[in-house]
Amino acid sequence: MDRIVLTASEGMLLTNGEIYATRLELGDWDSPDNYREITMEEYNAILQREEDREIYDM
């Protein structure tokens, strides 16, 4: 069976809240419903929050 392939629109990323990618080849357990597109601005804001948390963890 062929994999379901998802490709992010230009300037966007696909995410399920944990993974951020421009292209996804879904495993046989996975579903497109698990993913949504976000903008790079949203992604950068998430990264900043992550970095703040990592510095706090150190």
Binding site: M1, R3, I19, A21, R23, L24, E25, G27, D28, E54
Partner: protein, 201 residues
């Protein structure tokens, strides 16, 4: 033998004595730091900018029961020896921001090993070889220069039975692999692991 001859003889042996002292000091430090090659707590063991190729010279393979931050922020270019994390129950930030690291010759994992932020910002990494089975999600997309053999090692280590896991690779992976082999080889390789979601970032 005259005194002059004795002094000459001693002087001749100075480099040899110096080397023996160096070896003794090397053994003293690494035997102690690596528990004579036994399992040690690896938490932040080689972390920080102060670890570099000049002072990182492990005597033994690295066997650890905790791997959090093992090489975090270090400046070494190769881990040089095999790293066995199969006894480690935690697993975050292992190579986090080790941005000079180019080679990881062997890392031994098992299906329970977790990879929380292990490779974040490992932008120089080219060579890595896994031994054992990868059974949890792993993100190595920062390493855009991974070789074909490294990619083959990563994918080849993926469990064929787990579900719900994702491998995140650099967008360069397919081209690197196909260019070093034949067109379509990457698709053929990953088609054997339909139980994994492949993400490219």
């Amino acid at each position: 033998m005259t005194t002059a001859e004795k002094l000459t003889k001693i002087a001749e042996r100075m480099p040899e004595v110096y080397k023996a002292g160096q070896k003794s000091e090397y053994d003293r430090f690494w035997d102690n730091y690596q528990n004579n090659g036994g399992i040690v707590n690896g938490t932040y063991m080689f972390a920080g900018y102060g670890w570099n190729d000049d002072n990182y010279n492990p005597k033994y393979p690295i066997k650890i029961n905790s791997c959090t931050g093992l090489f975090r922020f270090c400046k070494i270019t190769s881990t040089k020896v095999e790293i066995d994390v199969t006894s480690s129950s935690d697993g975050t930030y292992l190579f986090h921001y080790a941005d000079a690291l180019i080679v990881i010759p062997k890392i031994i994992v098992n299906e329970g090993t977790t990879y929380g932020n292990w490779f974040e910002n490992c932008t120089a990494l080219e060579e890595i070889r896994f031994e054992g089975t990868i059974g949890k999600s792993l993100d190595i997309h920062w390493s855009t220069g991974l070789s074909m053999l490294s990619l083959a090692s990563i994918v080849g280590a993926l469990s064929k039975t787990v579900t719900g896991q994702t491998i995140t690779l650099p967008t360069t992976a397919r081209a690197t692999y196909d260019n070093a082999t034949i067109s379509g080889a990457w698709d053929n390789l990953v088609s054997q692991y339909t139980n994994w979601t492949f993400a490219y970032a």
